[in-house]
Assembly symmetry: C2
Homo-oligomer: 342 residues x 2
């Protein structure tokens, strides 16, 4: 028989995506570009997403507002930038002593994470999709060595995101300084330390020249997930076909971003060490003091923030289960391999 | 103005996908189903992939042949099943003391892995896509404790894939037994030990009842990647649009499979321990003897298999770099978290 032919409109759907990140931080910026290309490829160019770097259309840290107001159709950002609106945002990126990259992805794709966060974001007219992760980050650059928790007292440290809430309890004075100004602030002595991401991004900023003591790990970022925010109205206007394409393109960018970090960090770390970075493990008493402080912060938030409390229980349960399993197969394998001459 | 309307054919493209896995091993089977649904959703049902479980259309371990011959359009399998054809297949799944899950994904998405394997698979008229990973596996079930490398001598052990090549050198007698017969073979004493995957799958087989000693990690599977095989002819016949949709659907299934394992293994491990599984770390001398044997096997293959040699150098270099970095941020974070009461 002859199948009926359906006439399909050839109108091109055009969206604007605002990224929080500059093109120069290519691991952070690239997932949005890959996402846009994927959607164009999958629709033969009928659905076009134009990507704007941080600050081009809207300020880098105002993606929630821009998407909520419909200034842009979608955005790519780190949810913990918005913890000032509500600490609950942090669950979508990371919290101190939180999930690592794979655990976070597992919580989002096969646990209750996506559902819980979708309910939270509905308050902001946003539909969220996980879109990238940095993996465990480095604990930052310090002008002087950190020998114990005492050395943190009075330390002026640049830190983005929710981690500052815990660092404050250790006597750190968290500073909010744009990435582009961190180097000169350290050079001038306006700040004593800064955290950023990991070797690949840190190398670009050249921080080892002014603050050579490089500590690991960032207990405040065992993995930092980035998120695609889509305005609810823009989302609802999509056909089921385009919705599926968008979700799959976000998944593809999600795996791609972690892969880029993992593939590119090792060479950057080598170069940093060759350039004079002094690599050290964060002292145990700093870790323990920070862990204790994080529990206090979470207990207080459970008391005073009902949105936080709605998610914390599930997050904490999932996390605790994960770390009963992680040391067994994955951890023991990685420890053995890390100790071998390969 | 009025845009010209183009008439698009509504013919449905129908593909058949042969999985190596039974529906009962749902973490292994599910990625193919998710992939098929993604493609249908993204094309409004115009591209349909029917998924057949292991054995339904073709034998579970003959996916290479079935795709190469055009018996099916595509398949989902573990590449190391085919090491008898050529050991090089193992690089697409795992080799003993090889990359962990994230490292393998990094090599495929941002290293040279995909390009090198695409060139290899061209010999089999196959286009490959990474589609899932189990994460680091468990080292199997043993009727008696393994106290040292001596206890492996003469051990009749069921093992799938390339790892048997190294276990042989330790005196193990590798056995090839279908998953469904492993339990009775252990019960009857036909074999002394078996490896399978990890807690979630192992629980299903009930092996703890007949071989309670459960060792970690599987040094032969620090991560096992599954692969989507698409026949070159079927691939070339796709529009650029469908090619993009297929690739993104594979990425989505890739991240989904690892997430399922990560989310579901912890509860399964708890249950196994409650049921009597005796959990132990693989003795250090077994690890070291196996590591040494693996180097010997790889040196021999580099000498005698030119296809293997084409990939080994890049794989080994990438792996070595990864494990210079892994213990720093990721490893130190995970070790701290694994030791805490969460």
């Amino acid at each position: 028989g002859t199948a009926p032919a359906i006439v399909r409109p050839q109108e091109v759907l055009r969206w604007r995506l605002a990224s929080s990140f500059p093109k120069s931080l290519d691991n952070l910026y690239a997932p949005a570009e890959r996402f846009a290309k994927s959607i164009s490829d999958a629709t033969d160019g009928r659905f076009q997403v134009s990507v704007y770097a941080g600050g081009e259309l809207v300020p880098p840290f105002s993606i929630v507002d821009a998407v909520q107001n419909g200034t842009v159709d979608c955005g790519h950002t780190a949810a913990y930038y918005y913890f000032g609106k509500d600490e609950t945002f942090a669950f979508d990126c990371t919290i101190p002593f939180g999930m690592n990259s794979r655990q976070h992805t597992a919580w989002m794709y096969d646990g209750n994470g996506l559902e819980l966060l979708r309910a939270f974001y509905a308050n902001y007219d946003i539909v969220n999709f996980p879109m990238g992760n940095t993996g465990a980050q480095m604990g930052g650059w310090y002008r002087n060595p950190i020998k114990s928790a005492d050395d943190l007292k009075g330390l002026r440290m640049r830190i983005g995101g929710f981690g500052g809430r815990v660092l404050e309890r250790l006597g750190v004075l968290p500073q909010n300084i744009p990435g582009g100004e961190v180097y000169s602030a350290l050079e001038k002595g306006t700040i004593d330390a800064t955290e950023f991401v990991g070797p690949y991004d840190d190398l670009r900023l050249g921080l080892y020249r002014v603050a050579p003591y490089y500590y690991f790990p960032a207990w405040w970022e065992g993995g930092a997930q980035l998120t695609l925010y889509v305005g609810t109205k823009a989302w609802n206007a999509l056909s089921p076909e385009y919705k599926a394409i968008l979700q799959q393109a976000a998944s593809d960018a999600h795996v791609y971003m972690q892969a880029r970090y993992d593939a590119r960090n090792p060479a950057a770390l080598k170069q940093l060490i060759a350039e004079g970075a002094k690599l050290s493990r964060m002292p145990r008493d700093v870790m323990d003091a920070a862990f204790k402080a994080s529990r206090e912060v979470y207990a207080e938030l459970n008391d005073k923030n009902p949105e936080w409390r709605k998610i914390y229980g599930d997050y904490a349960r999932f996390l605790a289960e994960q770390y009963q399993w992680e040391p067994i197969a994955e951890g023991s394998y990685n420890q053995y391999m890390g100790a071998m001459r390969l």
